[in-house]
Structures are given as structure tokens and as C-alpha cells.
Amino acid sequence: MSSRWYPIYQRGNPQLRVFLPNFWMKLIRPAEEQPPNVVTFSVSMEMTKYDVRNYLEKIYKLPVVDVRTRIALGDTKRDQTYGYVTKKDDVKLAYVTLPKEESFVFPEMFAEKAEKQAKEEKSLDESKEGFKRFLDRNKKRPGTPGWFSI
């Protein structure tokens, strides 16, 4: 039996249980400024408000006060050469309100990256310089080992 094949729901029946949900949720940086207790998610297109609430409460054990969803239209773009129009997929966004005392700030993940990269490049340059100096020093006596020096 496929795990994605459910019997039809009729009124009065028990609610259908999903044992292996395959919904996904992405936490994304909000496009507009939001109150500190509102988190923006990009979710599977099939998810409803109730699904989003259950997902966060049951799987992530997060307290959820309110969920609002909307479907954001994908951007259209006209091709520069041939003029045909391409469109990106629509996405469903969920705005989840947490309790008043909670606050979430989207983290800056690449703040240290530039610094780190500069440091790595610097050390690489230094070692390159060192090797060059070594080569220059041993130019007149090829084949001599590195330790054979004054």
C-alpha cells in the first residue's frame, strides 16, 4: 500500500492521519519589516493554515498563536533576445505569529565570511611569498635540499 494513498474523507469519519508527511517549510528572511514575534515561512503549496500550525506545533514543538498564508505570484521576465516570457513558480508564504513574549531576528549568517576569506587568502599569499623567497635563494645551486643553507 502506498503511503500516499488515503481513503476518501466522509463526514463523521475520524480525521485522516498522516504518518509520513512530506510537506516542507523554509524559514525565510521577511521582505517587509515584521513585528518581532512574526516569522515568515515559505511552505509547500498544498499546505493549509491548519497544516502549518500542526507542523510547527507537533514536529517543532513551537507555540503558535496565529497563521496567515498567501500565494505570492512568481516573477515574469521577458527574454532580451527573443522576447518570450518566462515565469518563476508561485510560492506559498506563511506568516506565523508566535506568543507576544517571543521574538525572532533572522540571523546574519555571512557576516564573518568575508573576514575569514580575507584571512585565508592572506595566509596563502604569505606562503606563496615564502616559497618564492626560497626559490630565489636557491637559484644558483639547484637541487640542494631546503635545510642546506646559512
Binding site: M1, S2, W5, V39, S42, Y60, K61, M109, F110
Partner: protein
Amino acid sequence: MSSTLIKCFNLAKTVRAATVKGFLTSPQQQWQAWSAAALQTPHAQLHTSPARRDLMEFFDDKKHWSENEVKVGRAWRTDELRIKSNKELHQLWFVLLKERNMLMTMEHECNDKMEIFPNPERVDKVKISMENLETVVRERNKAYHLLETGETGERPQKAVKNAFGLQVNYKMCEHVLPPFMNLKWIKSRNIGFGGRAVNRFLLKYREQLYNAKRKAKNRSRNEVMMILRRNPNFDLDVLRRKFPDVNVDKLRNEDKARGHYVPKVDV
């Protein structure tokens, strides 16, 4: 170099925390280490990495944020999943689900900030693991249904003809109304296809298929004859193997298979 060492050390620590001999052979990914640790009920008294219960679960470990490379193990295989209990599989599914959400979140943010997402194959590994897990669950479902009801319990399918008269696989589903009461469905079947136009279409469609087949046959036949013409001593067994639908022995005596030279006659 030093960061790799630290990573190895961390990995070793996690594996030691899990203290599973069998697990050493299975994937050494961190999330899998967590999952395995979570699955070890007899070893529950052992301390494992604490479960984070907040929105930071949607993000990768802080130390991986500015890394260019995040090393992980391989995906779960079906053989490894088959020896797990249903409960363990159910728990692992949610671990994988969370991991996938985390990776998708990180990928989205990287794309937004024009950064390179380190090791994107992690997403594929999670996907493969989830597919394998679902396969195993499906196998068990099938076995259970066969035992209890004598049927597989899979979604029933049947071959039906579509509006163009071509055969398609129809996946059946449950309906609220039985067919004789479902007037909308009955009306939808009376729109009148299956007549002259469909027959003409099918005739031409089948002609196309037949022509493609015929041309392919002729092509291989000609190819065999040309090979025999240019190389009179060619190994016939090789030809027979390579062109199984061509009668090589018959073609040998064809006029086209004879070269432009005087055949050597043994005196």
C-alpha cells in the same frame, strides 16, 4: 586543516556518545548520529546532544555558517532501513524531514545573499534516504495487506483508452457517488470521441510507428550487408550477436553483400 581535525574530533565524540557498534559502519552524518542516538532506547541513559526546540532548528549549526565545505556521510540504504522497527523508521522520517527543511532554508538564504551553498549534495542524500525509507514502509504495508487480505493494498490501476484512442494507465480513486448516480461523470463520457476522427488518427499514428520500425529494420539489414561487402572474412557470430533481428546467413548470399573483386576459387 585545523578545522577538519576539529570536525573529525567532533564526529568521533558523537559516535562515542552513541556507542553503537553497528552504527560505526552506518552513515557518520551528524544528524544521523543524532537520530541513531535517539533511536537507542536501551542506551537512553547516555547523554546525547540536546534537542534544540526553537526556530534555530531551521538553521545549520552556527559553526557551519561561514564554512565553504560541510562534510557529511552518505544516505541511508534500504538494507539498513529494513532492519529497523516501524517506530524507529517513523522517528527517522522526522529527523530527515527536519534536516531537509534546514537545508532548504540555508540554500534559500545562500541564494538570496549570492553566496555559495556548501555541499548541495546533502539535499540529494536526504532525498534518497527519504525515498528509501518510504520504499521500506511500502514493502511492509504490502506484506501486511497480502497476509491479511490477500491483496497488495496498492492503489488499483487499470489500462483505459483516452480521447485519442491511446492506452493510458488510470490510477483509480474512491468516489462519494457510485458510477450510475454520478450524472456529471456520465455526461462527461458522452462528449463523443472514439469515432471516425479517432480511427483516422490511430491509422496514421500506427503507420508512423510501423514506418519507424520498418526503417530501423532496413537500416540494420543494409549495415550488415555493407559490413560483409567490405570485410568478407568478418566474424559472423559477432554480427549475429550485434544484429539479432537480421538473418545474417541469408544476407551473405545477397548480391549487395558481394564485393567488387573476383572471388577466390580454390583449385
